[in-house]
């Protein structure tokens, strides 16, 4: 801090009043603790900022040694004396560290100690300016934690992408071997056929899981894009339901589709089928044994698909969370899966300019509502 006095003749008044005003200025500063020490380190003056920062009133602290503000660790290594010695040797010393308030709490301080010498170079004492940087330190720590968390997420996504690609190749080889055996022109023993079919189904499940991981890595890296064409949503939904017939029968569920005519639009058919597949997979997993109903309707500008089951449903508090990555409403130990189906579904629907949500206020079951604009300028989601 540097104060320059103006000439005596100006309206600033006499040097005495300038000194008084300077004292008033220092004592009223609240953001900095500014005080003087005698040559031994005992406190001689105290300002509002010092009281605010350290918690002592002037009456309580004047005459006490400045070591009172230091932590036991710093006292053990003789830091107060070292700092005063360095200020005498170098003129000033600046240091950041933990200091202790009257109530025993600690704060992160930036401290400047300046040695005050008289005309003959004799030590008169010290000026000490302390700034509480605890908030800044916390903000920096928070920023660092955030950076570490972001890096961890990036590494996880990178790992997922590599793992998924690496898994996909041997899985393809395995599926081909199994299918090759199943489809041998010479035929297969019926008992072996049943085992092979089960192995093939497991392989298909693995492929689906790995594909979900690949989709997530494409979405997070922004390399996920749409390939739109014109088709009728009802036809695509019917195709998916047809593919799920055996799966639904195994789950003890029926899947019915009610549709209005003329639900054409311009969408990525493969991706829209994937959305329906993901919702249907969930319905048959979490609401097995209950009927699933898909209703399709349209307006001039968009079409709406609702899929309802009569299973346990999703609590109101979970209705947004289930659309996040690796999230699920059901406990992980009860149901398999990666918790990616609804996340991927939402990304696909939103990439088409649409919306997907869970209807509120239904007494039971899950009721998904998807609205898709009939035409949307599609591109990458990244």
């Amino acid at each position: 801090m540097e104060i320059t006095a103006r000439p005596e003749s100006s309206e600033t008044g006499s040097p005495r009043s300038l000194e008084e005003r300077f004292r008033a200025l220092v004592s009223s500063v609240k953001d900095y603790a500014i005080f003087m020490l005698d040559p031994t380190g005992r406190i001689e003056t105290w300002n509002a900022g010092a009281e605010r920062t350290k918690g002592y009133t002037a009456d309580e602290i004047i005459g006490q040694h400045m070591s009172r503000f230091y932590t036991p660790e710093d006292l053990a290594r003789g830091l107060p004396a070292k700092l005063l010695g360095q200020a005498v040797r170098d003129g000033r010393v600046e240091i950041e560290g933990w200091r202790v308030r009257k109530d025993g709490t600690r704060f992160w301080a930036d401290v400047v100690i300046t040695a005050l010498l008289d005309d003959r170079g004799q030590l008169m004492g010290f000026a000490k300016v302390t700034r509480d940087l605890t908030e800044r330190l916390h903000a920096q720590e928070e920023q660092l934690r955030l950076a570490h968390a972001e890096e961890a997420v990036r590494l996880r996504d990178e790992f997922l992408s590599i793992a998924a690609h690496e898994l996909r190749t041997p899985l393809s080889a395995l599926q081909l071997q199994l299918q090759g055996l199943l489809e041998r022109p010479a035929g297969v023993d019926p008992r072996i056929r049943a085992k092979l079919e089960r192995a093939c189904r497991s392989g298909e499940r693995l492929v689906t899981l790995v594909d979900a991981l690949l989709d997530v890595s494409r979405i997070t890296t922004g390399s996920f894009s749409l390939n739109p064409s014109r088709f009728d949503l009802a036809e695509a939904v019917q195709d998916v339901v047809e593919r799920f017939r055996e799966h639904a029968a195994r789950a003890g569920s029926t899947v019915t589709v009610r549709s209005e005519p003329g639900l054409e639009g311009r969408w990525d058919r493969l991706r829209i089928e994937q959305v329906v597949t993901n919702l249907l997979t969930n319905a048959l997993k979490y609401a097995a044994g209950t009927p699933v109903e898909i209703v399709l309707s349209g307006t001039e500008h968009d079409v709406t698909l609702t899929m309802s089951d009569e299973g346990p449903g999703i609590p109101e508090s979970e209705k947004e969370r289930v659309f996040l990555r690796f999230e699920r409403a059901a406990p992980m130990r009860n149901f398999g899966g990666l918790g990616l189906g609804l996340y991927v579904a939402r990304q696909i629907v939103e990439a088409h300019g649409g919306e997907i949500s869970l209807a509120a206020g239904r007494p039971r079951g899950a009721h998904f509502v998807i609205r898709l604009p009939r035409a949307h300028l599609v591109g990458g989601t990244g």
């Binding site: 190749t169 041997p170 080889a173 199943l182 022109p185 492929v207 894009s225």
Partner: protein, 120 residues
């Protein structure tokens, strides 16, 4: 036209499984480990394959580079190519390759045999 299929695939297990399936269904099969290997096999062949089953992601010379070289060589340009890839949206990836068909890995044996019967 022969009844031999050229399988261009870098993964040895996938390549071998495809060759076995193709042979079991009455076709001949040759294997190439990448696009460059496939071009060598084509250059040495006394009889050209009826179809090339082409993977897209391969080291040394990938599917797209192979297709480019194949189309520029009048000896091989007319051999139909069936693209085989792990891409979910492989239609888009294969669009510029002018393939007669695109199959997602792993293809079902039935769709594979149907495609081969169409071209061989």
């Amino acid at each position: 036209m022969s009844h031999t299929v050229l399988v261009v695939e870098d993964d040895v297990d996938i390549r071998q499984a495809l060759i076995e399936i193709i042979e079991e269904h009455g076709f001949g099969a040759l294997g190439a480990v990448d696009g460059a290997d496939a071009l060598k096999i084509l250059s040495r062949a006394t009889e050209l394959p009826c179809v090339i089953l082409l993977d897209l992601m391969m080291p040394v010379m990938d599917g797209a580079e192979f297709r480019e070289a194949q189309r520029q060589d009048p000896r091989f340009a007319s051999i139909p190519v069936v693209v085989l890839s792990a891409y979910r949206d492989l239609d888009r990836h294969a669009a510029h390759l002018d393939a007669v068909s695109v199959l997602r890995k792993p293809p079902s044996v039935r769709e594979l045999v149907t495609v081969l019967r169409t071209h061989c």
